[in-house]
């Protein structure tokens, strides 16, 4: 009996050993940076040329600076506006494509091919994609050449707030709708087909089926898509950064929170950057909770 017991214990040991790689990677690459970010946020710590200032403990002064200089709110607004402008068309397009792809009655030809094609934009590096758009929509770029040739005249895309935001949103849409479509399609294919058949027998139209069966049963996947997209949206950086050459112009109307963070990190201002990151952490957490609550309460 004693022998057997020791064998059980030695099996348990393997459990911990298998957990170890994840724990180590998590602690080294996530937990320690997280804690050090919070720690850094309480210090005045930057470099002026070749002179290091600090680190001096300043308590909550960095948070006070950020919350009172009136910059956080506009940048948060920009981030959310550009995310919403991209996300709403994206989710509609993805739902439509997902419904088509998962509907066996349509007998789509080469569905696999198209599924790959819509995913392709996501494989391009975001910065390369932004560079491409920057060149395409430059004042003397090809799009403006076309506009001039067909008689509309030049439009300076980079000098108007809404055209820059629109371009950012459009790029994010192009890059991510494939990914969302695949996720939603997986959710739709997971729905029991007998439900669709039963509805058809009862005389439901395909619109009824979509709104009364597909959508409600898709809710968990939809929540997942929304939260991941929201978190990704809050971290929007590379596309607007490259498109506006880091300025967020015109008048910083396309500057996102992470671009603002980058400005501080670029001048090695670890104190303010740390404080901004901590605030971002809370904003992301709170928004995710709200999305989760709102989408969940409707379930009866």
């Amino acid at each position: 009996m004693k022998h057997k017991k020791s064998k059980v214990v030695s099996y348990n040991k393997w459990g911990y050993i298998f957990l170890l790689p994840f724990t180590i990677v998590y602690v080294v690459f996530s937990l320690i940076p997280l804690v050090s970010t919070v720690y850094n946020s309480f210090f005045e710590n930057y470099r002026s040329g070749l002179t290091q200032i600090g680190p001096n403990f300043v308590g909550l002064a960095n948070f006070q600076t950020l919350l009172t200089n009136g910059e956080l709110l506009p940048y948060f607004g920009n981030t959310m506006i550009m995310w919403v402008m991209g996300f709403i068309p994206q989710i509609l397009l993805s739902l439509l494509l997902g419904a088509w792809f998962s509907d066996p009655q349509l007998r789509l030809k080469a569905a696999g091919f198209f599924k790959s094609v819509i995913y392709l934009p996501n494989l391009i590096m975001a910065s390369a994609f932004a560079m491409l758009f920057f060149t395409l929509f430059a004042d003397t770029g090809p799009i403006n050449s076309i506009l001039i040739n067909i008689g509309i005249g030049q439009f300076r895309f980079m000098s108007h707030a809404w055209s820059v935001r629109g371009l950012v949103a459009f790029m994010n849409l192009l890059m991510w709708f494939g990914n969302t479509t695949i996720l939603l399609m997986a959710g739709m294919l997971g729905i029991d087909t007998s439900l669709f058949e039963a509805a058809q027998v009862d005389g439901a139209t395909s619109t009824d089926v979509f709104f009364k069966i597909t959508l409600p049963l898709l809710r968990p996947i939809l929540i997942y898509v929304m939260i991941t997209s929201l978190v990704g949206g809050l971290q929007m950086f590379d596309v607007p950064q490259i498109l506006t050459n880091g300025t967020g112009d015109p008048m910083r109307t396309s500057m996102t929170l992470i671009m603002y963070l980058n400005k501080h990190l670029f001048s090695k201002n670890f104190g303010l950057a740390g404080a901004l990151s901590v605030l971002m952490f809370f904003i992301t957490g709170i928004l995710s909770l709200i999305v989760f609550k709102v989408t969940n309460t409707k379930v009866e």
Partner: protein, 447 residues
Amino acid sequence: MKRKALSMILATAMVAATIVPATAVNAEEEGKVLNIYCWNDEFTTRVQDCYPGYEVVDATHGKIGDVDVVWNSTPNQDNAYQNALDTALLGQADAAADDKVDMFLIEADYALKYIDSEYAMPIADLGITDDDTASQFQYTKDIVTDANGVLKGLSWQACPSVLIYRRDIATEVLGSDDPETVQAAVSDWDTFMATAAQMKEAGYQMTASCDDPFRVFSNNVTSKWVEDGKINIDENIMNWVKMAKEMVDNGYTTTAGLWSDDWSKGFYPDGNAFCYFGPAWLFDFSMAADTEGSIGYDGGWAVTEGPQPFFWGGTWICGAAGTDNPTLVADIMKTMTCNADVMTTIATEKNDFVNNQGVMEGLAEDENFGDAILGGQNPISMFLAGVGTIDMSNISNYDQGCNEAFQNAMHNYFDGNATFEEAIDLFNKAVIEKYPELSPADVPAAE
């Protein structure tokens, strides 16, 4: 054990290197890797072509004897190069011998930051004497002389600047591409604006960007960008704002940034910009003169003095304190900036305005010398006329960050996306993000 032995040998070598005076050290006992920090390949190509014994390995690697030369290049924009260099220099004391910065390049916009620090070696410590640098232009030495009067850098070029114009547009609109005719049309800012109106009527832009004349104004300021820790906007910078706003409003130019695609369009025949402002390196090195079909390739540019003398840029070479290759660093600096033969080669083959009075005066009078990019025009006497007037007393450590941020912020005002006050506010924000210790500038009167 092996590693221990190796570190013992290295430590002994380092101690030995500090005891023996730098000039007496045989180059063969010095480090095997020469690290050079730079932001483009301008100096690289000059070393490749002119430094005796340099063998090219690839674009960023070379060999001099048995020393490996490594070019560490970081783009200049948005203080990126300065940040990379700062990080390397701050780690200099702890870096392994082969990783130490041995030599770095700097620009006038931030030269003081390094010259007033302990990281740049005095030239005298490298064994280069006043006699060696006697024929260099005084302003190139003023910029890299620290607060105590110690010279800490050397340059192979001087950058007096001129107005660079397109011959074909000058002929069409002004009747002649002769420098004197064009000079009469741009002799001061009022005639410059009148010519701009003429250009607009003919369907051309006066300049590719409203930022083109910026340097002319910012070099003729009477105060620094930062005074006593407070950002300061000079009166002459305001003169630029007024003129640039008028130019943009009247359609004489656009708000494309310098170095942008839209700005560079003017290097080609289908771009429609009449003139650029700049020194020799701009039209020789940066205006696509190597590209077939460009205006420079076909010798379509010419130069004239323009409304006001100014200078732009210039690259200085500094020896990094703590280098393990002092002899080689000294020799490269001396050969590339003091040797009259090398200077002549750079001037005639690369068309740089080199930092040697004798060589340049000789070339100015040489009737056979002409720049193919300028259709055979010899611009040297114009540059020589400007080089004496360069006044470096108002440069500060913050110039690059302030110049870039100011132009960016003002574009919003010129484009009508912001009022003047809002644009100044944005400028203050952007500068303080780069230099958190500064306090914001007051809003100057807009009119």
